[in-house]
């Protein structure tokens, strides 16, 4: 029982940290907060591993720690510390509105997962709702922020949400699956960071609203 309580509370903490990642002004600060969120995710993995006696999940926590808590934030920190465009900070909507939308997303996700019938899930449905909501909050980050680096974070948040769902519903999956997803995410972040640097060097901006020469 305590395990369930812990997991549900940690899941709530995931939402809080993701809001911090979105609301933070500087991309480097977001990178740190993202590492913190991944640490919460690893905590959920370990608790779930303990509850289900799932050996694979311990392995997942290790590889998730290496990739998500250490590697990806480090890559982002190194890549983003040289890119600064204060004019692009902030979002197209106010932070308060952002929080309201996020709350609505979590509520909708809660109702969306209600009809799911899987025996192991009865007590962990809030976490399933959070994982779906977290995924959609990542999308919210991408559409609401002006800084293109924030879009990279949005992708990472979405990826964390999908990862949590995977851990929740299929903790028996072979380690290879987890490694495959994590490797892909690292490559995606590296290539996005490289592309962002090329854009910054060529156009001297990180504002997505300045990237409007193509339309129609």
């Amino acid at each position: 029982m305590t395990g369930t309580l812990l997991v549900n509370n940690l899941a709530g903490l995931m939402i809080v940290t993701s809001m911090l990642v979105i609301a933070a002004k500087k991309p480097t600060l977001s990178a740190g907060l993202y590492a913190l969120q991944s640490l919460v995710l690893v905590g959920i993995f370990i608790t779930l591993a303990n509850m289900f006696g799932a050996h694979e999940l311990y392995m997942w926590s290790i590889s998730a720690f290496i990739t998500k808590v250490v590697l990806v934030p480090l890559i982002m920190y190194r890549a983003f510390c040289k890119l600064a465009d204060p004019k692009a900070d902030g979002g197209v909507i106010s932070t308060a509105a952002l929080f309201m939308i996020a709350a609505a997303i979590v509520l909708v996700s809660y109702f969306a997962v209600q009809p799911v019938q899987l025996p192991m899930l009865t007590e962990l449905k809030p976490v399933l709702a959070v994982s779906l909501g977290h995924f959609l909050i990542g999308l919210l980050c991408i559409v609401s922020q002006r800084n293109i680096l924030k879009q990279v974070f949005g992708y990472c948040l979405m990826e964390n949400g999908a990862h949590l769902t995977l851990a929740l519903l299929a903790h028996g999956a072979p380690e290879l699956v987890e490694i495959g997803i994590a490797t892909d995410a690292i490559f995606a972040v590296i290539i996005m960071a490289l592309m962002a640097r090329r854009i910054y060097r060529t156009m001297n901006t990180l504002d997505v609203q300045k990237l409007i020469s193509l339309k129609g």
Partner: protein, 536 residues
């Protein structure tokens, strides 16, 4: 050749070619010749091996190797054939096109090596999508196609091409993240209900247990899969990356994106369509495909009509054709699915011809603006004629191939009782044809501008076009027997054990495919729709 060896050879060829091409950067002087040779050999070997693999599937049926990780059946064989042929043709065209770009100083020799390197890496990732039986690898490979082709889109390094590359990479990775979520839902549900959870990752195994999957989760999963991989397929409203990426990429890459990449994502959708239809029935997936497909055709048709940028016009035509394939799948039944498969092949041939043709225009005129491109027929008569022929064929003019598959889609729609949908579709296809005719009138006809020199660009950039037009004519009049068989095998797999449907499929006398009688029926039936099309 053993099955595993075949798979390994198939996957190794583009990967090794890619690495060699990257390595050519280090060779200094003469690397242009060397990398071109590596590229030509790699493209040819890939064509041969893919055709061997397709032939093996055609003779032996389904192939499984590497502990179920790799898989080829009639359905993926069709897409493999497209990849092999289009990869080869765009490969040959690339040589002519990129040499011009290097001579003009648009691209450095170093970038040329990277271009060929990423070109083959891109082919490798698409090959992995086609041959993977592992659902997660399938997703990862789709994601990898974005990462490997983003550099091709941003090759010219200008503001607009970087912007296009950024939009491409963000929209597609986010879209494909939806695909991951759908994949996770299907996989985790299967792992919960299957006796051996380790098998839940293989498409072929999950299919055996599809009946046991949770209905709510599968509804949710199909929505995620369609949004996710639909982004990569270019379905409206997730298509926003497509016109930018297709227009800013070098022309051979545009052709590859449009004719092979979109199909690969489509193949993944079809795989999930089969799986989820087996779990919850095909009504829900079909309805979603119809909605997304029809919206894509509708929006793209009007945007085609108002475009001034030639490559953007062609890009919207890709959205339109992918929408049409989704509509055909949504109509369903043996005829609808067969039409979808045939149209996939036909669209790939036509769109490669047009994107390569637009590449010739770009080399000649230095612009994609159709207000500035005039009199191509006088400047380069052969390219002009091929481009005009290709455009009309793409618009659905008989006796070319696209007419045939569009006509089959319409017939399937009438059979399934979607009369209003068919009328709407015909109206939209008429608009598309009008848009393509407008393109021909604006750019191919007219007076030749003073600042453009007369003459063709060499056989490397025109012969592939001629070959494509010949193939389109062949596919429009006498589809070769093995191709018919392959299409029917693919359709049977999508029907997934629907015995009545399979019997109906065997009884179909598909126009242009078999007997002369069938051809004459088509001709007489086609009059109303042709009249509709000729009205403009």
């Amino acid at each position: 050749m053993a099955t595993l060896d075949l798979f390994i050879t198939l996957l190794a060829i583009p990967l090794v070619t890619s690495l060699l091409a990257f390595a050519c950067r280090l060779t200094g002087d003469g690397s242009q010749k060397l990398v071109t040779m590596v590229h030509a050999i790699g493209s040819t070997l890939l064509l041969v091996t893919s055709l061997v693999a397709v032939w093996t599937v055609y003779r032996q049926g389904e192939l499984l190797a590497a502990h179920n990780w790799l898989h080829l059946d009639g359905l993926s064989a069709l897409f493999l054939a497209i990849l092999g042929i289009i990869g080869f043709i765009t490969g040959i065209y690339s040589i002519g096109y990129m040499n011009h770009e290097v001579d003009d100083g648009e691209v450095s020799v170093g970038s040329l090596c990277s271009y060929y390197g990423f070109f083959h890496l891109f082919l490798f990732t698409m090959l992995l999508v086609i041959t993977s039986n592992n659902l997660i690898v399938m997703w990862a490979a789709i994601e990898a196609t974005t990462l490997s082709s983003a550099f091709l889109v941003g090759l010219y390094g200008q503001q607009s091409s970087l912007e296009a590359a950024w939009k491409y990479i963000i929209i597609c990775t986010v879209g494909v993240a939806f695909g991951l979520y759908g994949t996770v839902l299907v996989y985790s549900n299967a792992a919960n209900v299957m006796a051996n959870p380790g098998d839940a990752i293989f498409w072929t195994e999950v299919l055996h247990h599809a009946g046991e999957l949770d209905s709510t989760l599968m509804h949710l999963a199909f929505i995620f899969v369609l949004i996710g991989f639909g982004t990569k397929t270019g379905l409206f409203p997730m298509h926003a990356w497509l016109p930018d990426a297709h227009s800013e990429a070098p022309s051979p890459t545009s052709a590859l994106l449009s004719a092979v990449l979109l199909n690969c994502a489509l193949l993944v959708i079809v795989r999930y369509y089969i799986l989820i239809s087996a779990a919850i029935g095909n009504e829900f997936p079909q309805r979603l495909l119809l909605i997304f497909g029809l919206l894509s055709v509708g929006v793209a048709a009007f945007l085609i009509l108002v475009q001034h940028d030639m490559k953007r016009l062609l890009a919207y035509s890709s959205v339109e054709n992918m929408g049409l394939i989704a509509v055909a799948l949504g109509i369903g039944g043996p005829l609808g699915i067969l039409a979808a498969m045939l149209h996939t092949l036909n669209h790939s041939l036509a769109k490669t011809l047009l994107f390569c043709g637009s590449g010739n225009v770009l080399l000649k005129y230095g612009t994609r603006d159709m207000n500035a491109i005039k009199g191509l027929l006088r400047v380069a008569p052969f390219s002009g004629a091929l481009l005009a022929g290709g455009a009309l064929a793409l618009g659905g003019m008989p006796p070319f191939n696209v007419f045939l598959s569009e006509f089959m889609t319409v017939t399937a729609g009438i059979h399934a009782g979607h009369l209003w949908l068919v009328l709407l579709l015909l109206a939209l296809l008429t608009i598309v044809l009008a848009g393509l005719v407008r393109m021909v009138v604006m750019s191919v006809l007219g007076k030749q501008p003073d600042n453009v020199s007369k003459g063709e660009l060499g056989w490397l950039t025109t012969a592939p076009l001629a070959l494509l037009l010949a193939l389109m004519l062949l596919m429009g009049t006498h589809i070769p027997q093995p191709v018919t068989q392959l299409l029917q095998q693919a359709t049977t797999i999508v029907l997934n054990g629907d015995k009545a449907g399979e019997a109906e499929l065997r009884a179909l006398s598909v126009p242009g495919m078999s007997t002369t009688g069938a051809v004459s029926t088509t001709a007489s039936q086609s009059t109303p729709s042709q009249q509709e099309m000729y009205r403009d």
